[in-house]
């Protein structure tokens, strides 16, 4: 019952924070949005990387699929992003299924490499087909401030949009953890051959985890496009962003709220460093890296577990 209590506190906190920040520190509201954005990406990554143990450094490719799908549907066919986001999710799911059929057989560093290669391919293709994607110049969404177009002049809208997506990602994680699929995914992470020997169709469950993770990531991609109203191949399908997503979940841990804690912590940290030393670009990432090394060596199962056990 303690677990239920914790879930309720987290959910309440996540719902109240945007409103509180909007009233108290409106000038820093974008920090809350970024925290939720990274928390959601980490939570989506956790399904494949944390629960199943297939480390992907390629999730930003699905962010790009989501962002480009809803944006192109809107620009070329006047389809509302409210619809486009689900189309993007479906497209990302199909893409991940096709990729997963080949690459999910790989283990450890080889899967990591294949995911790196995949992001590169998506980025190169988005940049190459300029007649559709406008290449590296990127796509600009028109400013309409209309809720029907998933836009608003009020930043609270975006705060609650990403809060909704974040809670969806956490709920999916929760549902998986309480299901047969969840048991099988952790068995695959712990020892894939032993899971097979018990009759678990490991290829199918890994693909399921990959598809779910890709689908959720694509939804966040649509949010990204609507929030910034500007997307480029290098800002979406990027290796640094992919790595950042993985780091959030590794620093946080693989428990339900751990990637959320990871996202909030790391974005908070980056914000602090940028505010304190605005003149040194790159410092926030260097600090990030040191933090990551410290967590891996001192508390390999993540900050969330460390906090629960020690504080």
């Amino acid at each position: 019952m303690l677990r239920l209590g914790e879930n309720a506190y987290w959910a309440m906190g996540l719902v109240l924070l945007p409103a509180a920040a909007y009233v108290a520190v409106p000038e820093y509201f974008s920090v809350v949005i970024l925290m939720y954005y990274y928390a959601a990406l980490g939570s989506a990554w956790n399904i494949l990387g944390g629960r199943t143990g297939q480390l992907s450094f390629g999730n930003s490719a699905f962010l790009a699929v989501g962002a480009y799908t809803s944006t192109l549907l809107f620009l070329d066919y006047h389809v509302s992003p409210w619809v486009g986001m689900w189309v993007g999710g479906a497209l990302a799911a199909v893409t991940s299924l096709l990729l997963g059929l080949t690459s999910l057989r790989l283990k450890g560093p080889f899967f990591v490499m294949s995911s790196f290669a995949f992001v590169q391919v998506v980025q190169l293709l988005l940049a190459h087909f300029t007649n559709i994607t406008n290449g590296n110049v990127g796509l600009v969404l028109p400013l309409t401030d209309s809720l029907a177009d998933m836009e608003s002049g009020n930043p609270l809208f975006y705060g609650y949009l990403i809060a909704g997506i974040l809670l969806l990602a956490v709920s999916v994680n929760y549902a998986i953890s309480k299901s047969k699929t969840g048991y099988f995914l952790s068995a695959i992470r712990e020892d894939e051959d032993a899971a097979k020997a018990l009759g678990v169709n490991t290829a199918r469950y890994k693909a399921l985890a990959f598809v779910t993770s890709a689908f959720l990531t694509a939804l966040i991609g649509t949010f990204y496009a609507q929030y910034l109203l500007f997307i480029t191949p290098t800002a979406t399908a990027s290796i640094p962003l992919s790595i950042q997503i993985a780091i959030i979940a590794i620093v946080g841990g693989r428990e339900l709220w751990a990637p959320v804690l990871g996202g909030i912590m790391l974005e908070g940290f980056a914000f602090l460093v940028e505010t304190l030393f605005p003149a040194i670009p790159g410092l926030n990432f260097a600090v990030y890296a040191v933090l990551l090394m410290a967590v891996i060596i001192l508390s390999p199962s993540g900050v969330y577990k460390y906090v629960r056990e020690h504080i």
Binding site: K178, S179, K180, Y183, F184, S186, A187, E190, D191, D193, A194, A195, K196, A197, L198, G199, V200, N201, T202
Partner: protein, 237 residues
């Protein structure tokens, strides 16, 4: 129940199994013995689908399962244990067994009660909440069997379940195997502990160097000169 016909398996040109055939009847305890490197574990891996054979066929309850993937073999009703025990280290002992039970039960609650029942059968009831990586060797051996029988197999493959056990642990394990067999499970067993084999095995097959050397009742086999030679050869080494 299980028919293995002319199984051959080569690794880089070297035959690890050379046209090995045997049958296991329903309700039997069938044991395989032989020196290290004689091909016993390779044979298990072929039957369980972890290695594809280069020749020969395997059928189970009349179905041809040659070359099936491991998970399909398991779903067909054959469960295996690993010689070097393969628990899911970060999961609790109970959850390790629940994973096995879930391959037969849709519902988590049902799987959990099945798992608890299995844990009691193998004598692991007290260690349910412990992480599998912290178990003693004896309990890891028990867990290895518990995971396998949680999948409600009709044929159970046990790869040296008693290796590393000492003294009174062995009779305990022997009686566990007897109980499983009496509950209706057919058992195929690789074992080095000869005392255990003479106690539980209905029939015995001896392997050496990838070949089947002999097959028969334990009493007859133990007096076979070729078997003695294979074993004495090992003891010298």
């Amino acid at each position: 129940m299980l028919q293995v016909k002319g199984i051959t398996k080569k690794f880089g040109g070297v035959a690890a199994l050379n046209s090995v055939s045997f049958d296991v009847g329903k309700g039997e305890v069938f044991a395989i013995i032989g020196p290290n490197g004689s091909g016993k574990t390779t044979l298990f891996n072929v039957v369980a689908g972890f290695h594809k054979p280069d020749g020969g066929s395997i059928s189970f309850e009349g179905k041809d399962i040659t070359g099936w993937q491991p998970f399909r073999v398991a779903q067909a009703g054959i469960a295996r244990s690993f010689q070097n025990t393969r628990p899911f280290p970060d999961l609790t002992t109970l959850d390790n067994v629940v994973v096995g039970a879930l391959t037969r039960h849709r519902n988590i609650r049902e799987a959990r009660s099945k798992a608890e029942e299995v844990m009691a059968t193998v004598g692991l009831g007290g260690a349910a909440g412990m992480q599998a990586k912290n178990l003693s060797i004896q309990d890891r051996k028990r867990l290895e069997v518990a995971k396998a029988i949680a999948t409600s197999p009709r044929l159970l493959l046990l790869d040296e379940p008693m290796a590393g056990l000492t003294g009174e642990e062995i009779p305990d394990f022997v009686s566990l195997i007897k109980r499983l067999n009496e509950s209706g499970m057919t058992i195929l067993l690789i074992e080095h502990v000869l005392y255990a084999i003479t106690k539980v095995a209905d029939r015995l097959m001896v392997m050496d160097n990838g070949n089947k050397l002999a097959e028969g009742a334990p009493g007859d086999i133990m007096n076979d000169s070729r078997v003695l030679k294979a074993y004495i050869g090992e003891d010298d080494a």
